[in-house]
């Protein structure tokens, strides 16, 4: 060694060179693993397409039958207000008990029962009621069907009253009616494919970010190659960092394919904010999550265990970080726990940049939280890495 600045710069060159060869090694290994490559390709293309197309939480074509005991113009008028895309009218029942049988079989979701003398009572200004039976086995759909039906019936009643009053005392205009006018922001067409495909992408990124580095590490342990690395001059950081770098690069590439190759052409998902910011923060998220994966790999012995542990960690993370359930609806302790989930911050970042056009001025706190979490995870992982072999 010559000492002085030359040896310092030489050391930097060697350090950098090690990082490059190790990262390249990870990339080669990943792309020679055919099952992983296929799984990766499917997850970032077809699976995103399916989640954008298939998942619907709005009421859509709920099957409805009617038992109309009145057969009047009023009852027909009401029945016709239940129409597509929310309801699909399957026809009329001849007997009242037929409906329940159908509901038991699952061939119908809602039954509307109109009592005899419906029209008469309306005409006479007497109060009357209709009955709606709803199958709420699928709770969100059932409740939303009940809600829609309630609004349709209320609107019908209001119209009837309006004509009655208007008919007797000159003009509906004098009635005190409050109209609630919606303004839908960020997604004016209320296009669900946007939300669903973005959340599909977030799910996929999370799973791969945790799984890829963790299995790569576990594979080295399984095959014994890690020993060779341990006796080499590589530091734990130089062993672990390249795995994360390689996997982050791969995931960023795949995200670009999903975003520009699937979500934009198929669903017209907008990118209102900065693309560079989006990808930088995606990289930060991948890095943080990969830190969790590496930590997982230090407490497991083989790839199968890594798979199971990932399932255990990822499932609650996906459920509780706010994609499927709103954070506000969760108990406080879960909310507190989810402060440790990088996904919680990334969801806000991704929707913020894509749909709201938010910039770092809004999202800085999430970015900092994620970076802190990632640094901690990574530090803890490298510390565990050495210890596990002693």
């Amino acid at each position: 060694m010559n000492g002085g600045p030359t040896s310092g710069s030489r050391r930097a060159v060697v350090w950098w060179g090690r990082l490059v060869v190790m990262t390249r090694k990870e990339m080669i290994q990943l792309f020679r693993d055919l099952p992983i490559v296929l799984f990766l390709t499917y997850s970032f293309t077809l699976a995103i397409l399916i989640s954008g197309n298939g998942l619907r939480s709005q009421l859509h074509n709920a099957s409805l039958t009617v038992y109309d005991a009145d057969h009047s113009s009023a009852s027909r008028d009401l029945v016709h207000r239940f129409h597509q895309p929310y309801f699909r009218l399957l026809g009329e029942l001849s007997r009242p008990d037929e409906g329940l049988r159908r509901m038991d079989r699952g061939s119908v979701m809602a039954i509307l029962e109109i009592p005899p003398r419906f029209h008469e009572q309306l005409a006479a200004g007497e109060p009357t009621a209709v009955q709606l039976l709803v199958d709420t086995t699928n709770a969100p759909q059932g409740l939303s069907a009940a809600g829609y039906a309630g609004r349709i019936v209320a609107q019908f009643g209001q119209d009837i009253s309006a004509t009655r009053i208007g008919g007797s005392s000159g003009g509906a205009a004098s009635l005190p009616i409050i109209a609630s006018e919606h303004r839908v922001w960020y997604n004016p067409d209320q296009n669900e494919a946007w939300f669903e495909s973005i959340s599909g992408l977030l799910r996929t990124i999370t799973i791969f970010a945790i799984l890829l580095p963790a299995t790569a590490m576990a594979r080295e342990k399984e095959r014994g190659t890690v020993e060779q690395l341990l006796v080499s001059p590589l530091t734990p950081l130089q062993i672990m960092l390249p795995k994360v770098l390689a996997m982050t690069l791969v995931i960023l590439g795949a995200t670009a394919v999903a975003l520009f190759g699937v979500m934009q052409p198929a669903f017209g998902v907008p990118i209102r904010g900065s693309v560079i910011l989006l990808f930088s923060l995606t990289a930060l998220f991948t890095f943080t999550t990969a830190g969790m994966g590496l930590f997982a790999s230090t407490i497991t012995h083989n790839q199968a265990q890594v798979g199971l542990l990932t399932l255990l960690v990822v499932a609650p993370m996906l459920m509780l970080s706010g994609i499927t359930t709103p954070m506000e609806a969760l108990p406080d302790w879960v909310n507190a726990l989810m402060l440790l989930s990088p996904l919680r911050y990334f969801i806000e970042i991704a929707y913020g940049i894509l749909l709201k056009g938010a910039g770092l001025d809004v999202l800085w706190s999430q970015a900092i939280a994620m970076a802190a979490l990632g640094g901690a995870m990574f530090g803890f992982g490298t510390w565990r890495f050495r210890r596990q072999f002693q």
Binding site: V14, G17, V21, K25, Q29, R32, R223, L229, V231, P233
Partner: protein, 665 residues
């Protein structure tokens, strides 16, 4: 077993003595023939050996005989039943015990020793009283009775294998098929294993088909087949196989050794350097002629301490393999490239190294020194502490106490400097199997910080040294074991280390590959002054080392050059006697009763250590002939390192048992 009426086919028209008959057997995996036309006949009551390197096709053949693998051509008859369908196989399986390859792979790690045995007995419907009786006897015989309640996963490798054997034999099958039962097991446990097997076979009249990758175990079989690349190269009794390749083994010392090797290699294909001694196999049938030919080949160089012996079976196998491989790959020209010299003094120095795991002391005050250019062998049973010593010296594991210097750097303070100066190769040949040969070399060159010019230069050197021409862009996973091993060595040498650590570097490699590997090692040590610390289970390989240290229970219990180690034992316990009789099993029992406690069965011969050859010979002859047995021959044999190892460890175990008894009473 269901009491079905005896099947007439079960004892068939064949010779009643034939248990297994295999003819023209072919097994293919996709297009590759793993076994390509093998014939085999095993007779009742014999231990039949299948010998060959990894990938020779032994396992495929054994699985087909056990009825758990289909085959493509030929016939397999077991107990006279043609095993060609699941039904036929089911019929035969009840009379077979099969131990698959791998340490304890057929056992349940979380069950205790006794629970494992009970499970296998009940699976085989062994009646409870029989089970109780057999279990007691087998546990006593294997010395596992103290560990009845220990979970299988906490047993040592040798103990696992013994338990595996018990579980395979608990239903007293007529035929035991054991696939590499001794691989990865230390010499003492291995010898134990053979003794137990021989005793069981004799008592119960069982037959055994056993495979092994250790060539030196060949002499233990009654008859054997030597298989390589799916073909049978030789078969018969050990003596018959030896007769296939007539010739003599000439050993001597000549200096300078490297010159002598270069001259000899022009004439002879089998030249081996074991420490200072050269071993040359000559095909001439006359011993005197063999010596004079060698002297001519040496061309005026003086040789000393010359002796002529009958070749060992391993030499015969190597000769047979060399016939199969017509073109001998040109030996990689090892250009002398001086290694980095960063200091003078010993290459490795360990002073009072200690390592505790909880309350267990795995390494106990280990002290040794490895000089530059020396090949130092660390021997010991599984769990003796060899790997822990290596881990501490390579900086993977901090020591609990003691000091160590490696390549001039202090183990405690300069761990990183050590790592840059050493090469390391483990038994797994830690290469990336999904990278190609050059990608592996590039990777390690990058890790050790070589620039692109140095990388290219070392790449050429490694390819030449390891004979990798034509393999450069092959995936490492598809390389033959021997080539893979040399690549791993090359990667460990990429940065020209002065000290090389090799942790069981030759497991699973065929004998030619192993010899070639050791050739490279001795040239590295002699020409480039690389110091090599190696651990091995193959005692024949330990002969290559300049200096040996034997570890037992974390301590070094014997040290010296191979010949020192042998003469120490000869002084303590006497020289080796080999006895040939007509009924070896009974003879062994009689001899043990008569006070020859260390006597052991070695194939059909009995080995024992004796201090007074002439007197002992007279005594044992009278003991045996008084019992109506005829003694065919009694002769002295040179002590092998395995004998040394077993003697040392057994003596220590006995002392330990004695002190424990002393404390207990």
């Amino acid at each position: 077993m269901a009491p079905t009426p005896a099947q007439p086919s079960a004892h068939g028209p064949q010779h009643t003595d034939t248990v297994i008959k295999v003819s023209a057997f072919v097994k293919r995996y996709k297009k590759n023939a793993a076994v390509d036309g093998v014939d085999l006949e095993v007779r009742r009551g014999e231990i039949y050996g299948l010998i060959g390197p990894d990938g020779a096709g032994k396992s495929s053949l054994m699985k087909a005989i056990a009825g758990v693998l289909t085959y493509d051509e030929g016939t397999v008859n077991v107990f006279g039943t043609l095993v060609d369908s699941e039904r036929a196989a089911e019929h035969v399986k009840q009379r077979i015990g099969f131990l698959p390859q791998g340490l304890g792979l057929n056992l349940y790690p979380d069950l205790s020793v006794e629970e494992n045995i009970d499970f296998f007995a009940r699976l085989r419907l062994v009646p409870e009283p029989d089970l109780l009786e057999r279990k007691t006897r087998l546990l006593a015989m294997t010395r596992l009775d103290k560990f009845r309640d220990r979970a299988m996963k906490h047993l040592s490798g040798g103990m696992k294998q013994k338990l595996g054997l018990i579980c395979t034999l608990i239903h007293e099958p007529e035929l035991a098929i054991l696939d590499e039962p001794t691989t990865g097991v230390d010499p003492v446990s291995r010898r134990d294993f053979w003794a137990i097997l021989a005793e069981l076979l004799q008592e119960k009249g069982m037959t055994a088909l056993v495979s092994t990758a250790y060539m030196d175990e060949a002499a233990r079989f009654h008859r054997l087949s030597f298989v390589s690349n799916g073909k049978e190269l030789a078969s018969g009794t050990p003596a018959e196989v030896r007769a296939l390749v007539p010739g003599w083994m000439v050993t001597f010392e000549a200096a300078p050794q490297l010159d002598a090797i270069a001259r000899l290699k022009r004439t002879y294909r089998q030249v081996e350097a074991l420490g200072p001694r050269l071993h040359v196999f000559t095909a001439s049938t006359d011993a005197a002629q063999a010596v004079s030919q060698i002297e001519t080949a040496l061309g005026g160089m003086t040789s000393s301490d010359l002796r002529v012996d009958e070749p060992e079976l391993e030499d015969v196998f190597v000769a047979l393999l060399l016939r199969q491989v017509e073109h001998q790959e040109a030996d990689g020209a090892l250009s002398v490239s001086p290694m980095n010299r960063d200091h003078d003094g010993p290459a490795i120095e360990a002073k009072g190294l200690i390592r505790d795991f909880g309350s267990f002391r795995a390494v106990d005050h280990v002290t040794f020194r490895v000089q530059p250019g020396e090949i130092f062998g660390l021997l010991g049973a599984n769990g003796a502490g060899k790997t822990t010593v290596i881990k501490m010296l390579t900086g993977i594991m901090p020591p609990t106490g003691g000091e160590g210097r490696v390549a001039g750097a202090d183990m405690k303070t300069a761990g990183n400097a050590i790592k840059e100066r050493i090469g390391y190769m483990s038994q797994a040949f830690s290469l990336y199997l999904d990278l190609t040969v050059v990608e592996n070399i590039w990777l390690f060159a990058g890790i050790y910080g070589l620039d692109s010019r140095a990388t290219e230069e070392r790449l050429q050197w490694i390819v030449a040294m390891a004979g990798l021409h034509g393999y450069e862009s092959h995936l490492t996973g598809r390389l033959p074991m021997g080539v893979r091993q040399r690549l791993a060595l090359g990667c460990a040498l990429v940065h020209r280390p002065r000290v090389l650590f090799l942790d069981e570097p030759t497991s699973g490699v065929d004998p030619i590959g192993r010899r070639r590997f050791w050739d490279i090692l001795s040239r590295l040590a002699r020409e480039e002054e690389v110091s090599i610390l190696v651990t091995t289970h193959y005692m024949t390989e330990a002969e290559h080392c300049d200096h040996l240290a034997l570890m037992y229970a974390g301590r070094i219990v014997a040290e010296g050059s191979p010949s020192d180690m042998k003469s120490q034992v000869e002084q303590e316990a006497g020289r080796l006697l080999e006895i040939e009789t007509d009924i070896p099993g009974r003879a062994l029992r009689r001899l043990k009763e008569a006070g020859f406690s260390e006597a052991a069965l070695y194939g059909t011969k009995i080995h024992l250590l004796s201090r007074h050859h002439a007197e002992d010979e007279v005594r044992l002859r009278t003991v045996l002939s008084s019992d109506g047995m005829s003694v065919k021959a009694v002769g002295g044999r040179p002590l092998s390192l395995e004998d040394v190892f077993v003697h040392r460890v057994m003596t220590l175990e006995q002392q330990e048992a004695a002190t424990k008894r002393g404390v207990g009473s």
